[in-house]
Amino acid sequence: MTWFLFILLSVMVIGGGLGVVTTRNVVHACLFLLFSLLAVAGLYVVLLAEFLAVVQIFIYGGAIIIVLLFAIMLTRSEEYPSISDNSQWPLAVVAGLALFSLLTATFVVNSRSFEVMHRVALTDLGRNLFTDWALPFEIASIVLLLALIGSIVIAKVERRR
């Protein structure tokens, strides 16, 4: 059953990713991305990390994809349907394949027989996050705040007088 789920979700993940990088339509790419990321959330469930899965849906589905779509709509131009790859794409294929083979080889050669998955209790995770990781957590919040302010500053339209 988990095997079946794993294979299905992996295919979804990779398929969605390939869709993102091959489709000519940006909005379709966005949809593929959503598809892929939701499948990743499914993989998290398989990995017994339900909280991360919900966070994944929440952040990616509820925020990032929307913002992406928003940006796409605001930067709509006639070229979008015809957008394709740049002149470097064969090299990019080679690089991607090289990286994939390298990583796969590494993982296969170095594989250890970890077979048991552990579930992490949500409360433990939360307690850990707010005690041992409190400082990084605060820093992350500052990063978010700065990103928010920075985005506003960058995207703001100056009022001409």
């Binding site: 990713g17 993102v20 990390a49 992406l68 940006a71 979008y80 794409w89 796969t104 850990n128 995207a155």
Partner: protein, 102 residues
């Protein structure tokens, strides 16, 4: 039997796909999406490792949370830049933006 290696291979594949996207796409928005794919590949890897090896400590999960956080911040900021780019130059194709050329 499902082992860590399988998840790692999926994550490697997703990462490579994202890498291809970053290197091959023209639109800045698409490149951002590809970057998101790469981030997710990393997250998948992190969570897989944490889930398989680390029952006591939560380093993998927590770093994954931070990756998501930073990813969200990055998207917000990057899209603001894309908007500004579009407003200033009328395009989001990065091969038409070559101010640093020569």
């Amino acid at each position: 039997m499902l082992t860590l290696m399988h998840f790692q291979i999926v994550s490697a594949a997703l990462f490579s796909v994202g890498l291809y996207g970053v290197l091959a796409r023209r639109s800045a928005v698409l490149i951002l999406m590809s970057i998101e794919l790469m981030l997710n590949a990393v997250n998948l890897n992190l969570i897989a490792i944490a889930s398989f090896t680390d029952p006591e400590r939560f380093t993998g999960f927590i770093i994954a949370i931070f990756v998501i956080t930073v990813g969200a911040a990055e998207v917000g900021l990057a899209l603001a830049i894309v908007l500004r780019m579009f407003r200033n130059r009328g395009t989001v194709n990065i091969d038409e933006i070559e101010l640093m050329k020569w």
